[in-house]
């Protein structure tokens, strides 16, 4: 071997050595924790771990038990209702607020501050304050009754049928400000000349929004959708604070199911199985989107 050949290989590895060393935390986290952790959880969901992880494989046992549990079914139902309504309403409300804010109004900063401040609060705070407002004795129901409508009932937090809507109201209060900001940024990115051209063409405002502007804002809508969707699956703190999952199990959500079984009911296996289901749900949403956005473009 000549002296040249061996010198090539180590050179590649040592290029940018500092950068590579500095990136070790990121790589560790990405591969070790995100990838590795998720994989570990999925694998162990096929075991019958109780208080501590045990490597005894029991096939799909945990999953069968999961889907037989009414509590889990309720949590999935709740997530579905909450998720779909949350998506629709926050997008619609967020967009309408953004459209209003885009009209060159005065006090724009003030309004934006007001719409967005709930986002700065913890879900715990949000949950607690809405728990208070929806309190049947002192809250909205009490007030409306004291104003004369004696039979007015609005106690979502005590009514298993509609408790999820109480949580929805609180979540919308917290989250629509962010959607509005994103939509407003998207609206502001629309070329002014398009508005002018539509005006000269005699196209009324609502048609301009519906047929020209909104189609142009597709990327923003998709990004917002993904952000809202990823937040929906994670919903936990809000439920804990507002209803503690009650009344009974009526406002149970998957994230809470996982936590309760993992850390309180000493049934890790169930917790893992439930987590795996959550992961699956997210994957179903994210993978098509990622493919649409980045498909073909980059290969890491």
């Amino acid at each position: 071997m000549t002296g040249m050949a061996p010198a090539k290989r180590p050179n590649q590895l040592f290029r940018n050595l500092n950068a590579k060393i500095a990136s070790i935390p990121m790589i560790l986290i990405a591969v070790g924790i995100f990838l590795g952790g998720s994989l570990w959880t999925v694998v162990y969901s096929f075991t019958n771990s109780k208080l501590l992880p045990r490597a005894t494989f029991v096939g799909f046992d945990q999953f069968e038990r999961l889907w037989a549990s009414s509590r889990w079914i309720i949590s999935i139902q709740n997530l579905a209702i909450y998720g779909i309504l949350s998506l629709i309403f926050s997008m619609v409300i967020g967009f309408m607020l953004a459209a209003l804010m885009d009209q060159k109004i005065r006090f724009e900063n003030t309004f934006r501050t007001i719409f967005l401040y709930p986002f700065a609060l913890s879900f715990i705070v949000t949950g607690l304050v809405w728990q208070w407002i929806l309190n049947p004795e002192f809250g909205i129901q009490g007030i409306v009754r004291s104003m004369g409508w004696e039979s007015f009932t609005f106690d979502p937090l005590y009514n298993p049928q509609i408790v999820i809507y109480g949580i929805l109201i609180a979540a919308l209060w917290q989250g629509t400000g962010l959607v509005m900001c994103l939509m407003l940024a998207g609206l502001r990115g629309i070329d002014e000349d398009i508005w002018k051209a539509a005006r000269v063409d005699g196209i009324p405002m609502w048609r301009t929004y519906l047929f020209i502007v909104i189609p142009m804002m597709r990327p923003v809508f998709i990004t917002t959708l993904v952000i809202i969707a990823s937040g929906i699956v994670k919903v936990y703190d809000l439920v804990v604070a507002q209803t503690s999952g009650g009344p009974g199990n009526a406002s149970e959500v998957p994230a809470k199911y996982v936590y309760d079984y993992m850390f309180q009911a000493q049934n890790l296996g169930q917790g893992f199985a439930a987590s795996t289901m959550m992961l699956l749900t997210v994957a179903i949403i994210i993978i098509p989107w990622a493919y649409l956005e980045f498909g073909g473009k980059k290969r890491g």
């Binding site: 398009i194 051209a197 009324p204 020209i212 189609p215």
Partner: protein, 362 residues
């Protein structure tokens, strides 16, 4: 004479900032009027006021004899072409053209007829089913013009439509727009900062500065008899030579004197008396200074070549004389080395004198 568009005492201010000041303008039927000026002079603002996209603070706008000052853009009988084309990105070319008509509930056959006509004139038939993203810049601009065409209007407004295109496309489309004007014979109001476009396209040019029309004339007049220093310097490339000096009298005839050198003003056309002692600026275009083929009896000046810029067909010579460096245009065949001594003659019949203070033409 029919006036297609008339502007009366138009003013527009944003708060304390006055963008347009007391503008009066009459545009004849079928005329191609260019609003020319650099950024911020108010030309786009004026166009937007005519279109109805901006509200004037004061004044009135008439289109085809109708007072449209308070009318919405769609009711003014105008079509508009924008710098960024502003085509609706998610619709095909055909939908772009027909959207406004469908909203106005124009009957289907009528829409088809109009689109066919526009597609024919602009040669965009093969593009009808494509989306704007699939078109080239030139094609997009034609579709934008088509969108104005299908509206069956009298007045077309162009807001710097060629500024987004590269030089070659620009000159191609310029010719097309001129052909379009010849075949359609509509009134066209065209905003640009490019003087070449103005000179080639316009029937009349309105040069604007700081919200005021400096001169409104046909291109030849603006070129040869600019009304003030600003117009003289703005039009013409390479730009006019300006020599600062004063008027004097020699042998009973008025002369221009600078740095001790006198220039005969024989042939200069002016109604004003040329009083000696008045501080003035003499403007002469590079092609009106000759280094050869001098007219018989012309006054000669000795100059030294400073630098030459060969441009292929022409040669731009920079010469030093009378304390100034001036540019002279000659044929591209001859070359001149720096330091060469030359004799110059000036064609005063097409020169311009401006009062040094008011900058107005004398």
């Amino acid at each position: 004479m029919n006036n297609s568009v008339s502007i009366r005492d138009l003013s527009l201010s944003f708060g304390a900032v006055s963008v347009l000041q007391n503008l009066n303008l009459d545009i004849r039927d079928g005329e191609f009027l260019v609003l020319l000026g650099s950024s911020g002079c108010g030309k786009s603002t004026l166009l937007n006021c005519i279109a109805g996209l901006l509200e004037p603070t004061e004044g009135q706008i008439f289109i085809k004899g109708r007072n449209v000052t308070w009318e919405e853009p769609k009711d003014r009988g105008i079509g508009m072409v924008f710098q960024s084309y502003a085509l609706y990105p998610q619709m095909t070319v055909e939908k772009n053209l027909s959207f406004g008509l469908r909203v106005a509930k124009v009957p289907k056959e009528d829409i088809q007829r109009r689109i066919a006509r526009a597609a024919d004139i602009l040669q965009i038939q093969p593009l009808l089913n494509r989306k704007p993203a699939e078109l080239s810049g030139g094609q997009r601009q034609r579709v934008a013009i088509g969108r104005a065409l299908v509206r069956d209007v009298d007045v077309f407004l162009f807001d710097e439509p060629l500024s987004n295109l590269d030089a070659k496309l620009r000159s191609e489309l310029r010719v097309e727009i001129k052909r379009l004007h010849h075949s359609l014979k509509n009134t066209m109001i065209y905003v640009t900062h490019d003087q070449i476009e103005a000179l080639t396209l316009a029937d009349r040019i309105a040069i604007m500065k700081s919200g005021v029309i400096q001169q409104l004339d046909d291109p030849v007049t603006i070129y040869n008899r600019p009304v003030n220093l600003f117009v003289a310097g703005f039009i013409g490339s390479p730009s006019m030579n300006f020599l600062r000096g004063e008027l004097a009298e020699e042998g009973g005839c008025p002369v221009f004197r600078t740095h001790g050198v006198s220039f005969s003003l024989d042939g200069y056309d002016t109604a004003e008396p040329l009083m000696p002692g008045r501080k003035v600026v003499l403007g002469v275009r590079p092609e009106h200074i000759h280094v050869d083929n001098h007219k018989a009896g012309a006054e000669m000046h000795d100059a030294v070549v400073d630098i030459e810029e060969p441009m292929g067909a022409d040669n731009l010579l920079w010469l030093k004389h009378a304390g100034h460096t001036m540019s002279v245009r000659t044929g591209g065949a001859k070359r001149f080395a720096p330091g060469t001594k030359l004799q110059l003659s000036f064609d005063m019949s097409v020169a311009s004198l401006f009062d040094a203070e008011t900058e107005v033409r004398i």
